[in-house]
Symmetry: C2
C-alpha cells in the first residue's frame, strides 16, 4: 500500500508551475521509486489563475497554511514579503517547507532554521542554489564524512553567459547582456545579477550549508562584473587565464571567508571550462579531494527537479513510522574575514603615458611593500598610453591595495584600470 | 543523547584502511552533524594486521558476521570470492552492507538486491562507481523526480589519464601507461582497465541504478583503448574532437543501450574537458536537463568518503524509531540493444596506396548503402600510403559495418585502420 502525502504550492510563477508540470508527468515513476504518492491538494497565486487538475486553486495562501491535511508547503513566491511570513507560518503550524527562495534564506536563514528546529520540521532548499544542481544534498549527505575546506562556484548564469560571450565571441558587456536578455538568460532588470547580489545570496547559503556559519550578507565582500573590460578578458586569455564571477567560501581556523568577485582562473581549472548559462560548484575536502557539480543553475524545469527531490525526501521520511531527522545548518558562529585580510594573487592593468620609468616606479613601490611580481606584460600602446599588465604573487589584500594607492599617485602612471584577484589557492 | 551504531570492516587494504582513517579523523564532526556515533567494533583482514585503536582485529570475517551488535558491515575485500559469500551472509543475518565492490555488484547485483529486499536491509554502493563522486545518491535521490534519458561517463581513471597524456603531450599509449603506473594511476597489470572491463562493471551498476535494468555483463558491448593510435588522437584534435573512453547508458522504449567504447567528443562537451585521472558522469533527464558530476574516481580517501556517506545514511536511518526505507534498484527487465542496432556517427581512418579513385570507390559504397558522409579529410601521405579520415552522419551500426566490410575489399584501399564512434546524440 502506498502512503499519501499532501502538498500545497504557494506561487504559480515559472518555478511553481514547473513543479506542477514535472510532478504530473512523473507521478507514476516517483510513486514507484519512492513508495509514496505525492498529491498536490491546493495551489495559490495572487496573479496567475492556473488550472491544476485535481487540486484546488485559491488566491489566498492561508487556505494552504491552514489546511491540516497538507504536510509540505512549497514556497515559490520569491522575495521577502510575503514569502517570509508564509514560510514562518507554515513552520509554526508544524508543516515542512521546501523553498527555492535564495534571498529569504540568505537574509533570514538563521531565524527560519531556528523556527524549523523548534517545530521539528524540515526546511529544504536544494533549488535555492544553482537550480538543478544537487549541491546542497551533495554537501550535506554525500560529504557528511568530509571536512569541507573550500566551496567555489559559478553560481550566476547571467554573468557566466555574459563573460563567456565576451571571451569566446569578443562581445562587449553590453552586447553580451542584450543577447542574454534575448535568450532569456538575463532579466529585464539585470542589476542583481551584474552587481553580484544574486551570487552573494547563494554564497551565504553555501556558507552555512557547508559546515561554516550563518553570516550577515553585509559582511560578504561583493564585486560584480560591470568593471570587466574586453581588454581584461583578452590579456587574461593571452596568459592562460579565464575570467569568471565566483562565490568563494573558505573555512579557516575560527573564521570564514565568504566573498563574491571576478577571478582569473587558470584555463585548465574545471570551473574555467563552465560556459554559457551553466553553473558549477567546485568543492575541496579532506577525504573526497576535489569534486565539481555542474548543470543548469536556473529555469523552471531544473529548479522544479530540485524542489521535487526535496519534496520526495521529506515525503519518504514522514510517511514512515517516524518523522526522520530534519537537517539544520551549522550553529557555529564564525567571523567573516575582512577582504583586507585575505591573501590572493592579483592581476593589475594600468595605463602609462610613456614607458620610460614606469616599470621602475611601479616595482619600486611593490618592493618597498615586499610584494613580489610574478609576471609583467607590456603591450603596444593603444592610442597615447601604454598598457601594462602585472600579475602579483600571493599577498595580503591590504598591502596590495596600499601599494596600488601609492602607484596611482606616481607621475608616470596615468590610471589603474583594473584589479582582479587571481586563482583559488 | 547520541545514538550508537556499531560497524565491522572486512578487508583492510587501501579502501578499508582509509575508511578507518577518515572515520577516526572526522568522528567528532560526523557525530555532531548526524546525531549518531559510528563505532568500529571489529575489523578483519587475512593479510594485513593493522592496529585499530578501540576495535578488535581478527583474521576471521565470521567474527564480524556473527556479532549481533554489529549492524553495518563494510565489505572492502573486492573480487567475487569470498566477498560475495561475506555480503550474502551479512544480508541473511539482517545486517546492512556497504560495499565498493564493482565486480560483485555488476555480476551479482540482482541476487544481492533480491536478498537485501527479502531481509529488508540496506545494500549501499556509492563507492563502487567513480570513487568519491556521489553519483549514485545524485541519481537515486536528487533526480528522483526525473526520468533519466542517458548516463554517459568517464568512469575509468587509468584510461582517461592515458588518453589525456596522448592528447596533451603527444605520448604513445605505452609511454602514457608507464607514466600512469609510476604515478599510481594504473596497476601493475592494467588489463581490466585498458580493455574496458572495469568500465563495463560500472556501466552495469549505472544501468540498474538509473531506473534501467539489471543486465548480463556479457550483453554489454566492450571496446577498450588499446587500438587508439596517436594518429587518431591527432586527426580528432584537428577537426575539433577529443577521444574519451565512455560508458554509455541510454533508456529506450522497452530496451536499454549499455556500452563501453572510445568516443570522439566535441571539444566543447563538458566530458571532453575532464582530464588526467579524473572521472565524470554526465546525465541527461527530462527535468534537470544536463548535469555533470566530476571528481576523483579512485584512491583510498575519495573512496572512503563515499563509503562513509553510505554508512552515515544507514546509521541515521536505523538509529531512528524505525529502519527507514532501503533503496532497491529497478526491477524492470529490459533487453540490451545489440551493438549492431545502435545509431551513431562514425570516425573512420583508412590507408590507400594511391589517391586516385579512392574517394570515388569509398563514396560509391557508402552511397549504395544510403550512408551519408559528413566530412572527409585527406592528409599528406606518411610513407607510401595516403591517410583518409571520414566522418559519417548518424547511421545504424550494422549498415556502417557492412559498408566498411565492402570498402576493405576495394582494391584502392590498403586497410581500414580505425573505426571510432562519434558524439553522444
Amino acid at each position: 500500500m502506498q502512503n499519501k502525502v499532501y502538498i500545497g504550492i504557494i506561487g504559480l510563477g515559472v518555478v511553481g508551475s514547473s513543479v506542477v508540470k514535472v510532478l504530473r508527468k512523473n507521478a507514476g515513476s516517483i510513486s514507484q521509486k519512492t513508495g509514496v504518492d505525492i498529491i498536490i491538494k491546493k495551489a495559490s497565486d495572487v496573479l496567475n489563475k492556473r488550472s491544476i487538475a485535481g487540486a484546488a486553486y485559491t488566491k489566498n495562501a492561508s487556505e494552504i497554511l491552514n489546511d491540516p491535511e497538507i504536510s509540505i508547503v512549497i514556497e515559490c513566491v520569491g522575495g521577502i514579503d510575503p514569502a517570509k511570513k508564509y514560510v514562518l507560518s507554515a513552520i509554526n503550524k508544524g508543516k515542512h517547507v521546501v523553498t527555492s527562495n535564495k534571498e529569504l534564506l540568505a537574509k533570514y536563514g538563521k531565524e527560519i532554521f531556528e523556527a524549523a528546529k523548534e517545530n521539528n520540521v524540515y526546511v529544504m532548499y536544494e533549488a535555492s542554489v544553482c537550480g538543478g544542481i544537487p549541491i546542497i544534498k551533495a554537501i550535506r549527505e554525500s560529504l557528511a564524512a568530509n571536512r569541507i575546506k573550500e566551496v567555489s562556484g559559478i553560481v550566476n548564469g547571467t554573468t557566466n553567459y555574459i563573460l563567456t560571450k565576451m571571451t569566446n565571441n569578443g562581445m562587449s558587456l553590453k552586447e553580451a547582456l542584450t543577447q542574454a536578455q534575448k535568450k532569456g538568460f538575463a532579466e529585464a532588470n539585470p542589476k542583481m545579477d551584474l552587481d553580484g547580489s544574486d551570487a552573494v545570496y547563494k554564497a551565504a547559503i553555501l556558507a552555512y550549508t557547508s559546515g561554516g556559519s550563518f553570516v550577515n550578507i553585509k559582511d560578504i565582500y561583493k564585486e560584480g562584473i560591470l568593471k570587466i573590460a574586453p581588454e581584461d578578458i583578452e590579456y587574461a586569455k593571452e596568459i592562460g587565464y579565464v575570467i569568471k564571477l565566483l562565490a568563494i567560501i573558505k573555512m579557516l581556523d575560527g573564521e570564514i571567508e565568504v566573498r563574491v568577485h571576478p577571478t582569473l582562473l587558470e584555463a585548465s581549472h574545471p570551473l574555467a571550462k563552465v560556459s554559457d548559462n551553466y553553473n558549477a560548484v567546485f568543492v575541496k575536502t579532506d577525504a573526497m579531494g576535489e569534486g565539481m557539480f555542474y548543470g543548469e543553475g536556473a529555469g523552471g524545469l531544473p529548479t522544479a527537479s530540485a524542489v521535487l527531490a526535496d519534496v520526495v525526501e521529506i515525503a519518504k521520511a514522514i510517511s514512515g513510522c517516524c518523522d526522520g531527522e530534519p537537517y539544520y545548518p551549522s550553529e557555529k558562529k564564525l567571523k567573516v574575514r575582512n577582504i583586507n585580510d585575505i591573501r590572493s594573487r592579483y592581476y593589475i592593468r594600468l595605463e602609462a603615458p610613456d614607458r620610460s620609468g614606469v616599470l621602475a616606479g611601479i616595482s619600486g613601490v611593490f618592493s618597498k611593500k615586499k610584494i613580489s611580481i610574478q609576471e609583467v606584460v607590456q603591450r603596444e600602446s593603444k592610442g597615447k598610453n601604454a598598457q601594462i599588465v602585472i600579475i602579483l604573487h600571493e599577498n595580503k589584500e591590504k598591502d596590495v591595495q596600499d601599494a596600488l594607492s601609492a602607484i596611482s599617485k606616481l607621475p608616470v602612471v596615468k590610471r589603474i584600470c583594473s584589479v582582479i584577484r587571481v586563482g583559488l589557492e
